[in-house]
Symmetry: C2
Subunit: 168 residues, 2 copies
DNA sequence: CTCCAGGGTGTAATATTATAACAAACGTCC
DNA sequence: GGACGTTTGTTATAATATTACACCCTGGAG
């Protein structure tokens, strides 16, 4: 389960730079989405979101299941169901490059193109919207006669903290 | 194994628009890379590349293994090994959004930022380099103090053919 | 109130994607 | 030919994700 840090950066030097995000705010967004859809913001959904918000870093679904397991074991399928809701609600994103999930700090506009910057050293993710990237994508799509629907933009690299503290 | 087209576009309406790529050219690139590294361009590597080039669409590793199996069964691990080589050689890319692999038509420059346009209908992938996207990524990275190393840019949408022939 | 319908939950099973480990075969250099 | 490093074939296992189904909860119709 727990990955070997030498193999995979996630969990490398623990939660340096891991900035937990505002749990109340993101929970508010989830609750609002649920209300707007007339579906419940159930306890499992709350627990998964709270864990991701507190962690401040991407987590694998099975890792979430394990952390949420206490007396009663939480199965991965339950986590996947909660993640599905949370992604629809825009409160959680999936990192395609790592098949992991993280809580989102932002209230994204509908047409926004967001870049996920993933640190290879510490595993932290920062998000930033970019109009230039959005225009670039529209450009290549137009040139190719392609109708763009959903962009996935991930940037692997080194975050500011890791870059300044090389070996830590 | 074979996915349900209603669930997953890959394999939807077969190989409409699937433009097989120039097998000789891409094989030449692989051979050149192998020579430059002093490692062999073995038969398994050739077979995997030939299949991907002929298919012209992304394939899952296990799908490749199955198609390459004749008298002797080809195991997935053998395919993964070949894919590793082919990706290093720049002849094959991995689609992170689908965990599938496809042969590359282009000779990419070293710093190039390439966009993979994936059609949700027919599964075909087109590639295009974009300076604008590259600049956008550099921009958000700089703003965030992030050192970019490897970008992943995938655009899901509808290709020109599918867009003009909606229900086919 | 009772019944019903739609979701959500808990649980088991299974599918899909990817890697680890190791002995045998191969190729190249000496 | 022999040593050495790589590739292969094979088995096993890890990691990620979905399907199936019985049960439960809740809210509205009658
Ligand atoms: Zn976000
Ligand atoms: Zn970092
Ligand atoms: Zn390419
Ligand atoms: Zn198409």
């Amino acid at each position: 389960m727990a990955r070997d840090p030498k193999q995979n950066p996630r969990g490398g030097h623990a939660d340096l730079h891991a900035h937990a995000i505002d749990a109340d705010a993101v929970q508010g967004r989830a609750r609002a989405y649920a209300a707007s859809k007339g579906i419940p913001f159930t306890q499992m959904r709350q627990r998964v979101l709270a864990l991701l918000a507190a962690s401040g870093k991407p987590m694998a679904a099975y890792e979430i299941a394990e952390k949420l397991s206490d007396a009663r074991r939480v199965q991965a399928v339950q986590v996947y169901r909660a993640l599905e809701f949370l992604q629809e609600a825009g409160c959680v994103h999936r990192l395609a490059s790592q098949s992991s999930y993280f809580a989102c700090d932002h209230q994204h506009g509908s047409g926004e193109t967001v870049v996920f910057m993933v640190c290879s050293q510490c595993g932290a993710v920062q998000e930033a919207a970019s109009n230039l990237v959005a225009r670039g994508l529209l450009g290549v799509a137009k040139t190719s006669g392609f109708k763009p629907l959903h962009p996935i933009v991930e940037l692997e690299g080194e975050c500011a903290s890791c870059n300044s503290q090389p070996a830590r």
